[in-house]
Every structure is written in C-alpha cells, then in structure tokens.
Amino acid sequence: MNKGQKVNIEKEKCKSCGYCIHFCNKGNLSLSKAVNTRGYLYIEFNDKENKCNSCALCALMCPEAAIEVYKEEKK
C-alpha cells in the first residue's frame, strides 16, 4: 500500500538479511533498533536528502517480497 513514501517496507515480513542495504546505491536503507514481532531487526527507509530515484534494486533483491517501490509522476 502506498503511504506517500517512495519505498514501503512491510516490517513484519523482514528478516534483516541486509541484501537491500547492500545493493542500495544511495545508502537510504538501514537496520532498525527495535525488533518486529518475529524477533528480527527490520529495514528502515530514510531518504532525508531526497536521493532515492526509485531504481527498485532493493525490491529486486528482497527474498521476502516485503518491499514496494513508487515513483513520483511527472506533471
């Protein structure tokens, strides 16, 4: 579901394998400090400098299909 963010992560599905963090060219993804209900640290998306270009490499490498990627539409 789109919540207005470019990258949405379903935190309950995440198992913190770290593939998305490794393959994100912009360094926008990081591990959380809290755990999800299954006991895993999950991935958080933080695009403070607005560097994300919706390349979707994170979603491409996610074994849990927990990442959805959106792009701003051109006006």
């Binding site: 394998c17 593939y19 393959f23 299954r38 074994p63 299909a65 959805e68």
Partner: protein, 251 residues
C-alpha cells in the same frame, strides 16, 4: 505516485518460513512475477518437493500440489498429460532432484515432457540440517562431511544440468544465480523462457538456480552471496547449457 515495484499477485500474503537471506524466497518471487507477466495464473499448477520448499503451496497464489522425495517430475507428467492446457512446473531442490529423485528427472527429460523444472542448487540438504548433497563442493564442510567433502569417498559434485544436456528430449537448459541485481534479472529471463517454451509446446525446460543457504553454510547472508560468486560459480558455470528450441518442431 506511480508503482515501480509491487508484490506479484501470484504470491500470497503469507510470510515465508525460509531463513534470512535464503534464495528460495527470491526464486519464488521470480516465478510468481513470470506467471503474472505471462497471464497464466488461473491455469498454472506447481509441484512442490521435499525440502525447505515443501510449503510452497502456502506461498504461491495458484494451485500447487506436493510430491515428496524427488517425484515431482512423475506427478507433473501425469498432470500435464491429463490436462494439457495447464502450465505445469516443478520446483525442486538439489537433495530432492539430484539425489532422491535423479531417476525421475532423467526419465521425464528423456520422454521430453512439456513441463518446466526449476532446480534450486544450494550445495546442501537444507531442511534436514545441512548434510552433504550430491552437489556439495569438494572440500566443503557439512554436518556429514565435517572435514570437507572427500571426492575419493563421496565422488565429485554432480553437475545435473550438464548431465541432462546429453538427453535428446530436453530442449532448454540454463544455469543462473541470484547473487546480485544483474543476475536476478538474468534468472528471471531464463525462468520466463522456460515457461514460454511450455506455452509454445516446445518441450522439457530446465532452469538451475545457484542459491544461497547462509544458515547451513555457516555464513552471513552477504558472505553467502560471495561464496557463490567465488566458489560455486567456478565449478557450476553459468549460462545456457542447451537450447534447441529453435531447431525443434513443436510437439
């Protein structure tokens, strides 16, 4: 906001039971994306193996049956022959396909059954706790080869794709991996071709995926990807091993 990537409809909402960094989840996703793109979800039947992927029926949002211990090719044969309009594929690991069910896969290929086989090669028995598989690399430590695989005792790792390539009935065989985005895209292309061959009635298509098993290899997920790149890909060469889809008349 325009969607760039969303979860394929052919996957259910169920969170999978695979370990962190496991390649099964990735390949499930690729299969689901391909089924979505080909628009055949309503008439697809998958056959799950014994092993970690035994619960595949919980994760795929289409019909999946279960045939343990290497028998999926036999069950796929029956389903495809009774219901020729369905898209039938088996999803098998190396313990299931290369060891317990070697016989089944060889004869299904030899009969040239018009099915698709997705073969996950992670060089180890995953579900049972990391024992040696036929595909385990020389010198690789597993719970049954604690000093590393000794080829004098256990033989050399089995290259199933090359083995099957000598069979006339197999029309398309490719080995791919899922260690980085470029290879994931290639893997998806190979899987799509394997399904398209079936739709075009070309015959037996086989895709081997070198897949990480971080837990049983005793490595962190990213180190497991490195292990595939440095060790597995040296022995199991990537690429199209056989493709006679253009020369072969459709059955």
């Amino acid at each position: 906001m325009k969607a760039v990537y969303t979860k394929p409809i052919s996957l259910t909402e169920t969170a999978n039971s695979y370990c962190p960094g496991c390649g099964h989840g990735l390949v499930h996703r690729l299969v689901a994306e391909v089924i979505d793109e080909l628009g055949v979800r309503e008439r697809t039947i998958g056959i799950a193996p014994v092993g970690c992927a035994v619960f595949a029926y919980d994760y795929f949002n289409f019909d999946v049956t279960e045939a343990p211990h290497g028998r999926p090719p036999a069950v796929a044969t029956a389903i495809k022959r009774c219901l020729p309009d369905r898209i039938v594929f088996t999803y098998q690991g190396d313990g299931d396909l290369a060891s317990i069910g070697t016989n089944e896969i060889i004869h299904a290929a030899n009969r040239g059954e018009n099915i698709t086989v997705i073969f996950i090669n992670n060089a180890v028995y995953g579900m049972t706790g990391g024992q040696m598989a036929p595909t385990t690399l020389e010198g690789m430590k597993t719970t049954t080869t604690t000093k590393g695989r000794d080829v004098k005792v256990a033989g050399h790792p089995l290259r199933v794709s090359e083995l099957l390539s000598s069979i006339e009935g197999a029309v398309y065989i490719e080995r791919v991996t899922v260690i980085d985005p470029a290879n994931v895209i290639k893997a998806k292309k190979a899987i799509k071709k394997a399904f398209q061959n079936q739709i075009d009635k070309k015959g037996f298509s086989f895709v081997e995926v070198l897949s990480p098993c971080p837990i049983n290899w005793g490595l962190k997920p990213l180190d497991a990807l490195k292990f595939i790149k440095e060790k597995m890909m040296e022995y199991f060469k990537l690429g199209v091993i056989k493709d006679s889809t253009n020369s072969k008349e459709s059955k």
